[in-house]
């Protein structure tokens, strides 16, 4: 009797041990899928871009001409547009994000913080196509009717600036696209900055106040130097978002393959070229678009890796 109970218990344990081992293998197998997907993405994009790399060689990277009909594929205009819009977006978004994060961690009364954080996160959740539509139908007319004429008038006799702020008054182009991008990345940068500010040891700040510093001085002389590296990481994270953003930029940038220093001139970005031309692309044109995708992925990956390393460094210390 007792022995049979023991043997059945032993059998149960054995069965469970088998299940346990199998479960571990299944979970690991599913986790490996993530690696396989990334590997497959890199492989297919590299494989798909090979024809254009082989046929055009270096001129693919150095040519300004992008004319699918004539078989000219130079990616400089798209790369230029991507970098310019993302860079201007950062210039606009970083100080704003900093002030919002500063407000949320230092100034805002405690009972409002959760709600205000939720509102910022709401901004991050709005789909990019909504931003694009809002930009095209709301922001563009405001820019065209009010902002752009002013800028043109102010700077019409100023060297360089008169060219930078020239352009058809339609509220579309590099600067309008950058503005929308800035609005879209503010929540991401703010979130990282807020987290980083919260990690600053209380005693450090108290030390500052003890020396007679006021709130801004504590932030400028203690919090900022202490969090510099991680803040850069947060900014890079925002940059990564801006580089790959497709729909909002496609709505706002004008979709013309030109390089111009005029911020109200129409241009293109890597993502908007892919989105616009994919439907009609064949053969070499398709390969060129895949190569653009690969380059975009590569840039985004580099930016992310640096951002992660920087943020990690500070959180660990």
């Amino acid at each position: 009797m007792i022995t049979s109970e023991i043997t059945s218990a032993a059998r149960l344990i054995k069965v469970e041990n088998g299940r346990n081992a199998r479960f571990r293998v299944i979970v690991l197998g599913i986790a490996l899928l993530v690696l396989i997907v990334l590997g497959a993405i890199i492989f297919t994009l590299v494989d798909g871009s090979m024809p254009v790399f082989k046929q055009l060689g270096l001129s693919f990277f150095t040519s300004k001409e992008w004319d699918p009909v004539a078989g000219h594929f130079g990616i400089l205009p798209a790369v230029y547009g991507t970098l310019v819009t993302s860079f201007i977006a950062l210039i606009i978004a970083v100080p704003i994000s900093f002030f919002i994060a500063f407000f949320l961690t230092e100034l805002c009364p405690y009972r409002f913080r959760a709600t205000l954080n939720a509102i910022i996160e709401l901004l991050a959740g709005i789909p990019s196509i909504i931003y694009g539509m809002w930009g095209l139908f709301v922001l563009a007319p405001i820019l065209a009717d009010h902002i752009q004429p002013l800028l043109t008038k102010w700077f019409q006799h100023v060297w360089l600036l008169k060219d930078i702020f020239a352009g058809p008054p339609i509220g579309i182009g590099f600067l309008p696209a950058a503005l929308i991008l800035a609005i879209m990345i503010i929540p991401f940068i703010t979130a990282v900055m807020r987290e980083v500010f919260d990690v600053v040891p209380k005693t450090l700040k108290e030390g500052g106040y003890g020396l007679g510093a006021n709130r801004w001085e504590v932030t400028r002389d203690i919090v900022l130097p202490h969090t510099k590296v991680a803040l850069t990481g947060g900014v890079m994270l925002g940059l990564g978002r801006a580089l790959g953003e497709t729909m909002a930029v496609t709505f706002m940038i004008g979709n013309v393959n030109t390089i111009s220093i005029g911020l109200f001139d129409s241009g293109n970005s890597i993502a908007s070229v892919i989105a616009n031309e994919f439907a009609e692309a064949h053969d070499l044109h398709m390969s060129a678009l895949l190569a653009l995708g690969l380059i975009l992925f590569f840039i985004a990956f580099l930016v992310l890796a640096v951002a992660r390393a920087l943020i990690h460094k500070v959180k660990k210390s």
Binding site: L45, I100, L122, G293, L304
Partner: protein, 287 residues
């Protein structure tokens, strides 16, 4: 190191600078907070005019005609739903691996890093990838390709939240379960996952909200369609691409339908985000 006590003039200047910066931060924050409301207000204001029965009972019209968004809503619903059915288990079990089996291992940190890469990969690149592996061999765009693209975007979100939520479960609970003679599998399935349930549901909702508005990856996979169809093996109508196509058109009727679609998606995303927040709050305050 700065010196903070100086002549009366410098004290005045310091106070002034401090006040100025604090005011600036407050003003910028208030403007920043107002922005989502401005955007939502515009979308609802312009979209609400087209909220009627036709919107959800009729399919997308040809130019200059009346119609609704029924086919786009149905197509989006099918693709997003199926994508979540695929993505949720993959994401949850990968999260289980990272939190329960691989906290310190090299392989786990590699998977964690690769997951982060996928999480912030431009979604248009995911679309290109699925185009090559599915649309090219099948010779036509299809709803299934759209499903796969959306699932690839949803998985990393699920992995991240599941791992974080499982890490919130105290180790004492795992030890207790193991001490009572359970296997690791039983501890995970009967103790850890139920304890992290609300957090994981939050993750599912956030992933759902994220892929519901994705447009770029569907451009090359599901494409779009002006017809009513539930056949995922063919190109299928979807809300984001319909909004894109209609908003970029010159037809007033199409543009107002685009606003109505934008209002639908925005309200839906906001509501899911609010629900996710409520579920999550219940998890962290201990029911």
């Amino acid at each position: 190191m700065a010196t903070y006590t100086m002549t009366p003039f410098f004290n005045f200047k310091r106070k002034f600078v401090n006040k100025a910066v604090l005011t600036l931060a407050t003003v910028i924050s208030i403007l920043g907070m107002a922005l989502p409301f401005w955007i939502l207000f515009t979308v609802i204001q312009r979209g609400f005019g087209s909220f009627n029965w036709a919107l959800i009972t009729q399919i997308t019209p040809p130019p200059m005609a009346e119609g609704g968004l029924l086919n786009a809503i149905v197509g989006s619903f099918l693709m997003v739903g199926l994508a979540m059915v695929i993505a949720a288990p993959i994401g949850i079990f990968t999260g289980v691996y990272l939190a329960e089996y691989g906290r310190e291992s090299k392989l786990a940190s590699l998977i964690r890093f690769v997951n982060d890469v996928l999480l912030s990969a431009p979604s248009i690149v995911i679309g290109l990838f699925v185009y090559i592996i599915m649309v090219v061999p099948m010779h036509h765009f299809s709803g299934y390709a759209g499903v796969v693209a959306l699932a690839i975007i949803a998985v990393p979100v699920m992995v991240r939240t599941t791992e974080n939520m499982l890490l919130l479960v105290p180790d004492v609970m795992r030890e207790g379960s193991l001490a009572l003679g359970s296997s690791k599998r039983q501890a995970i399935l009967r103790i850890c996952l139920p304890a992290a349930k609300n957090g994981i549901i939050t993750g599912i909702l956030l992933a759902l909200a994220r892929i519901s508005g994705e447009t770029a990856p569907l451009l090359f996979t599901a494409l779009n369609s002006p017809y009513y169809s539930t056949d995922l093996s063919q190109p299928i109508a979807n809300l984001p691409n319909t909004i894109f196509q209609f908003a970029m058109s010159a037809d007033d009727g199409w543009i107002s339908l685009a606003w109505a679609g934008a209002a639908l998606i925005s309200l839906y995303v906001v509501i899911i985000n609010l629900v996710a927040r409520l579920v999550f709050a219940r998890n962290t305050t201990g029911k």
